[in-house]
């Protein structure tokens, strides 16, 4: 019996570790945040989407971006949770099978991190920064329709 439970425990921990390994979430500080939002750092169309577990609309936004990336693999996706990372964040990112790097707020003051990311952002979620890869950057709040995202990334002509 002990052997059985040991194996179960071992498997459980292995699964948990693998899950985390597949969706590592990097804690972000202010200096890293400034780099992340610098348009010159992005040489390809890039979506940086801010989200939170407390935001129901964010899941829809993330899901739509995931689908968009499957059609447009040249788009880079970066996600940033506006709260410290937990296992729940990793689980959701994994469930949505989102590629790219994933970030979350580190230990600095949330106001300071938000300011470093986007001084014009008031905290509403989702918030997405769109980089066209040619030095252009735009920011939008709310769920973004895929077609609109493509336009802002410079991949589709504006209608």
């Amino acid at each position: 019996m002990i052997r059985f439970f040991s194996r179960c425990l071992y498997s459980l921990c292995l699964i948990t570790s693998l899950a985390v390994a597949q969706a590592p979430i990097e804690a972000l500080n202010k200096a890293q945040a400034r780099l992340l939002v610098d348009p010159s750092q992005h040489q390809q169309p890039t979506l940086l989407t801010l989200w939170s577990l407390e935001c129901a609309y964010c899941k829809k936004n993330l899901t739509q971006f995931g689908e968009l990336l499957r059609q447009y693999p040249n788009i880079q996706l970066l996600t940033l949770a506006s709260e410290p990372a937990t296992g729940e964040h990793a689980a959701l990112l994994q469930k949505l099978a989102l590629p790219g790097r994933h970030f979350a707020y580190g230990n600095e003051a949330p106001e300071a991190l938000a300011f470093a990311i986007d001084p014009n952002w008031r905290g509403e979620l989702p918030r997405t920064l769109l980089f066209d890869g040619k030095g252009g950057r735009q920011a939008l709040s709310g769920v973004i329709a895929p077609q609109r995202a493509l336009q802002l990334l410079g991949l589709e002509p504006a209608r």
Binding site: C55, A56, Y57, P84, A85, A112, F115, E124
Partner: protein, 387 residues
């Protein structure tokens, strides 16, 4: 199990444990600054704070400069919401009895119930109860509690049951509903809950204020036609049904997003309704002040600068106070505007600064004064006198 696998198991166990500890620690670090405040009949101030699943009451005899442990509410730990928008509710009656309400979170995200406990002697709390009869696994959260001078306890919260029901039959329901209950026996029993309105915003705090005739005035962010997230006002007479919903703000902010930024409302001695709210879509703002009447908003203007947030408002006679926090790129400042002529003229004041995370600033009537309060990680819970 082979001995050789023991070290790996130990590493994996440590890894699992560390992840859990980090998750829990992260929540405790930034997520438990939200407070509920109340002023007692003998001049004592009370604060309800969340500490690792327990609501704790502290008291202050010096206008919030120093606080002492007073009582613990729930003996059994539970997941208590403790963010600025969804913060514990606290009230004290004329005899010193304490009433506390809070949102409990269930394991599944966006689900939970509204809890309540009472201490007739101000110290020994009853076991918490859930105030609504609905037990469906959906959201019952963001409670707002009001204790009227005649002893009626009113509780209003954001409720997800309509959305759950619509989803069960493959339909959709925009936003959430607002439900309410009340108690006329000091919280021993509550009326069966009743729906006030459909289609509220899902994650913004409610504002509840008493009108001069004893009615309650509720202000909240509502989902209007075309997805406009403006504010609405509902008058709840002491007897009878609520009056029809009245649109309170007209900013036409159309967005599918969680602002997590609710309004505040007060009625001054002359019956004027003063409000502050958040609407970040135009050239000015994002926080606005205005007086609400049957014609709409009078004198709408921005409060503070472009990073002003989470404003509160209170009045006492002709005095009207606006209080908010504002990040300047380095520090968060606690700022106020004060009027002593019913909102015609305001003067500005900066009350304090903080480095690091902080709760929303809060105003409270304490005897014949209004006091400002701010709970920051750097300075703790502090009362700030208003000039």
């Amino acid at each position: 199990m082979k001995l050789s696998s023991l070290p790996w198991l130990a590493i994996l166990l440590l890894s699992c444990g560390l992840q859990s500890a980090l998750a829990g620690g992260a929540h405790g670090q930034h997520g438990e600054l939200a407070v509920g405040l109340a002023s007692g009949p003998d001049g004592t101030l009370y604060a309800a704070l969340v500490n690792h699943g327990h609501l704790q009451i502290q008291r202050s005899q010096d206008d919030g400069h120093s606080w002492q442990a007073h009582a613990q509410v729930n003996r059994e730990a539970e997941a208590i919401a403790a963010d600025g928008e969804n913060h514990p509710q606290l009230a004290v009656d004329a005899k010193g009895a304490l009433y506390v309400s809070w949102a409990r979170r269930f394991e599944q995200r966006f689900t939970g119930d509204v809890r309540f406990a009472r201490a007739e002697n101000g110290r020994d709390f009853s076991a918490p109860v859930t105030v609504h009869q609905d037990r469906s696994q959906t959201g019952h959260s963001f409670p707002r509690m009001h204790l009227s001078p005649d002893g009626r306890l009113q509780l209003i919260w954001i409720d997800g049951r309509e959305g759950l029901a619509a989803k069960a039959v493959g339909g959709e329901y925009a936003g959430s509903a607002l439900y309410a209950t009340h108690s006329d026996d000091g919280g021993r029993t509550f009326a069966a809950e009743y729906k006030l309105i459909d289609h509220s915003c899902q994650c913004c705090r409610l504002a509840l204020s008493q009108d001069n005739d004893g009615s309650l005035l509720l202000m909240w962010r509502q989902l209007f036609a075309n997805g406009e997230r403006d504010h609405a006002l509902l008058r709840l007479p002491r007897q009878g049904a609520a009056e029809p919903l009245q649109r309170a703000t007209f900013d036409a902010w159309r967005i599918d997003a969680c602002p997590h930024h609710g309004p505040a409302l007060t009625v001054d001695g002359a019956g004027r309704r003063h409000a502050v709210w958040f609407s970040p879509h135009g050239e000015t703002g994002p926080v606005f002040y205005g007086q609400l009447d049957s014609q709409g908003v009078q004198g709408q203007r921005a409060v503070g600068g472009p990073r002003a947030s989470h404003a509160d408002i209170a009045s006492l006679g002709q005095r009207v106070v606006l209080l908010w926090k504002e990040f300047d790129g380095e520090q968060t400042h606690l700022r106020a505007e004060i009027s002593d002529d019913g909102g015609r003229n305001f003067r500005s004041s900066t009350l304090g600064q903080s480095n690091g995370p902080s709760d929303h600033p809060r105003l409270l009537r304490h005897g014949q004064r209004l006091l400002a309060f701010w709970h920051s990680a750097e300075h703790g819970l502090q009362g700030y006198p208003l000039p």
